[in-house]
C-alpha cells in the first residue's frame, strides 16, 4: 500500500519499537486486504480487554506497549471487563477469583498509562465526546454492537476491528482504507420490508428477532436496508446488537435514522418479513416460568432506559425476582433522584464496568429473562436458559 514519508519512518522504527510494531500490524493486515492507503481515525474503541478473555498473553502484550511509554494517538475508550471495579461481587451467580482481579487490574493500569478513558462500556456512543464525533469521520472500533450503531446511527465509519487491531490503530491513530470506510460499500442493495398490521408495534425484543431473521437471510456484501422506521433508541440499539451478534454484520441502513443518501435504484431486491414469523419466534422465546434473575443492560442501558425500568417498577410491591441492570458509571451519575430511590427501594442493582456476557456469569440450567437478543445469543451458548421480554412488559414476567 502507499505510505507517506512519515508513515514509512514509523514503520522503519525511527520512533521506536512500539509505534513500529503497531504500524506493521496495521500495514500488514491492510496489505492482505489489498487496501491502497492508511487513513486517520478520530477515535478508537478497544474490545478484548477482559482478563477472562485475553488472559496472561494479552496482559503481557498490552503491558509491553505501556512499559515502552507508548500513548494512544487518538481518544480511546475501552469495552467492559468481567466485574464491577467498585463492587467485585455485584453480579449474582458469579465468582471472581483474586488472581482474575490481579490480572485485570494490570491490564487496566497499562491501558490507563497509555491514556485510555476507562469508562469500561460497550456503548461508547453514549459518551459525550464520542457522540460528538463528526458524521463521516473514520474510527476504529472493536465492539460489534457499537460498530453497527456507529455506522448506522451516528454515521461514522468503522469496520469491525477485532482482536488487537483496534488497540494498534489507537496507537498509530490510523487504519487501512477498506470496507465501510469507502463510501460506495455503505450503499445497500437489499431492502427488507416488514409486513404487519398498523397497530403491531416493533419493540426492542421484536427488533432483536428481526435482526436474527435478517442475519439468516442476508447474503450480500453491502449493508441491509430496513424500510421500517424504528421508533426509539432502545429498539435501534437492540436491533444493532442483534445484527452484530447473530449476523457478524457491521452496518445496517435504517430508514429515517441512518444519515446516508442513496438512490432507491441501487436496490436490487426487496425481501418481505412477515410479522407472523416475528410473532412465532417471540412466542418461542417468551418466559413461561419465574426466572432466577431479570437482566437489563446488554448493550449497556442509558439513563432514559433505567428511568423507564424504575417507573415500571413503581407500582409493584413485593418484588420476588432479583433485577440487575448493567450500565456505564457515567449514565448512573445522570440519573434522576426519584428513579434512584425507586430502584434502591426495590433492591434493583445498578452495576457498572461489566455485563453478563463478559463476566464469568452463571451456570448451566440457570434461568434468566432479559430484553436483549444479543444476551440471549451468547448466554444460551453457556447453557443458560434465556427468555425475552420488553422493558414495557416487565410486569408480565413479575406475575409468573
Amino acid at each position: 500500500m502507499y505510505l507517506t514519508k512519515e508513515e514509512e519512518k514509523i514503520l522503519n522504527g525511527e520512533y521506536g519499537w512500539g509505534l513500529a510494531k503497531a504500524m506493521q500490524v496495521i500495514v500488514s493486515v491492510g496489505d492482505s486486504l489489498n487496501s491502497e492507503k492508511l487513513i486517520n481515525i478520530a477515535h478508537a474503541h478497544i474490545s478484548g480487554v477482559s482478563y477472562g478473555n485475553i488472559g496472561e498473553p494479552g496482559k503481557k502484550l498490552i503491558k509491553q506497549f505501556a512499559d515502552e511509554g507508548i500513548k494512544f494517538s487518538v481518544k480511546t475508550t475501552v469495552n467492559p471487563i468481567g466485574y464491577d471495579t467498585m463492587d467485585y461481587d455485584a453480579i449474582p451467580f458469579t465468582r471472581i477469583d483474586k488472581s482474575y482481579i490481579i490480572g485485570q487490574e494490570e491490564i487496566l493500569r497499562s491501558l490507563n498509562k497509555m491514556g485510555a478513558d476507562l469508562t469500561l462500556s460497550c456503548t461508547p456512543y453514549y459518551l459525550p465526546n464520542v457522540n460528538e464525533i463528526k458524521k463521516g469521520s473514520s474510527v476504529a472500533w472493536g465492539e460489534s454492537n457499537a460498530v453497527v450503531y456507529g455506522n448506522s446511527v451516528l454515521g461514522i465509519k468503522t469496520n469491525r476491528e477485532g482482536g488487537p487491531i483496534s488497540l494498534m490503530a489507537a496507537i498509530i491513530g490510523k487504519i487501512y482504507y477498506y470496507g465501510l470506510h469507502i463510501e460506495k460499500n455503505r450503499i445497500p442493495e437489499i431492502k427488507y420490508k416488514i409486513h404487519k398490521p398498523e397497530d403491531y408495534e416493533i419493540n426492542e425484543v421484536r427488533a432483536g428477532i428481526i435482526g436474527e431473521i435478517i442475519s439468516k437471510i442476508h447474503n450480500n456484501d453491502k449493508p441491509p436496508y430496513l424500510e421500517e422506521k424504528l421508533k426509539n433508541d432502545t429498539t435501534i440499539k437492540e436491533f444493532s446488537a442483534s445484527l452484530g451478534a447473530a449476523g457478524n454484520l457491521a452496518m445496517v441502513v435504517i430508514n429515517g435514522i441512518t444519515p446516508i443518501r442513496f438512490d432507491e435504484k441501487e436496490i436490487k431486491e426487496t425481501i418481505t418479513i412477515d410479522f407472523n414469523d416475528i410473532k412465532k419466534r417471540e412466542e418461542e422465546l417468551k418466559p413461561n416460568e419465574r426466572p432466577d434473575l431479570i437482566y437489563f443492560g446488554c448493550p449497556h442501558t442509558n439513563k432514559h432506559e433505567i428511568e423507564k425500568i424504575a417507573n415500571n417498577l413503581k407500582k409493584i410491591n413485593n418484588l420476588k425476582t432479583k433485577i440487575i441492570i448493567t450500565t456505564s458509571r457515567k449514565e448512573i451519575s445522570k440519573l434522576d433522584r426519584d428513579a434512584l430511590n425507586i430502584l434502591r427501594s426495590k433492591d434493583v442493582k445498578l452495576i457498572s464496568d461489566t455485563c453478563l456476557i463478559v463476566s464469568p456469569f452463571g451456570y448451566k440450567g440457570l434461568n434468566i429473562v432479559t430484553n436483549s437478543y444479543k444476551a440471549y445469543f451468547y448466554l444460551t451458548k453457556r447453557g443458560i436458559k434465556v427468555s425475552l421480554i420488553s422493558i414495557d412488559n416487565l410486569e408480565e414476567v413479575l406475575r409468573l
Binding site: K21, Q24, V25, S28, V29, D31, S32, L33, S47, G48, N53, I54, G55, E56, P57, G58, K60, L61, G142, G162, G163, P164, I165, M168
Partner: protein, 124 residues
C-alpha cells in the same frame, strides 16, 4: 524438491519440519504454555502448513504468547490468512506467507522439510 511462491504478509526466513493443520484456530486449539495442539502434536519450531483459518479474536494473543514462552512455530504458510493471524505473526515476528494454492499445500505431509525465504517456499 519442489518450489513455489506465495504472498508475504510477514517477511522472514525459516527452515523446519512441516506440521499440517487443516483449519487453524489458535484459541482453544493450541496451549500457549507448551505449544501442544489438542490432537497431541506440538507446534514448537515447526513450519505450520494450514489450509484455512478458523476465526477467534483472541488468536493473535495466543501466537504472541507462544513466542514469549518459547514454543512458537518458525513460520506459517497458508492458503488464505486473515487479520487475527496476521496481527499475531507481526507481533511475534513469525514469517507468514499466504495465497498458496490449497492443492499444493495438500501435497505436504507432516515432517517434510520446508524452507521459507520471504515469498519463496521450498519443500524438500
Amino acid at each position: 524438491m519442489k518450489e513455489f511462491r506465495g504472498r508475504v504478509l510477514v517477511k522472514g526466513e525459516a527452515e523446519g519440519e512441516a506440521l499440517v493443520i487443516d483449519e487453524i484456530s489458535f484459541y482453544g486449539d493450541i496451549n500457549p504454555n507448551n505449544g501442544m495442539l489438542v490432537d497431541g502434536r506440538n507446534v514448537k519450531d515447526k513450519i505450520i502448513v494450514a489450509y484455512k483459518p478458523k476465526g477467534s479474536t483472541v488468536g493473535s494473543y495466543i501466537i504472541y504468547a507462544l513466542k514469549e514462552n518459547g514454543f512458537a512455530p518458525r513460520a506459517i504458510i497458508m492458503s488464505k490468512s486473515e487479520p487475527i493471524i496476521i496481527a499475531g505473526c507481526v507481533l511475534a515476528n513469525i514469517p507468514l506467507v499466504d495465497n498458496i494454492d490449497i492443492n499444493v499445500l495438500k501435497e505436504i505431509k507432516d515432517g517434510d522439510k520446508i524452507i521459507v525465504k520471504n515469498d519463496k517456499i521450498i519443500v524438500k
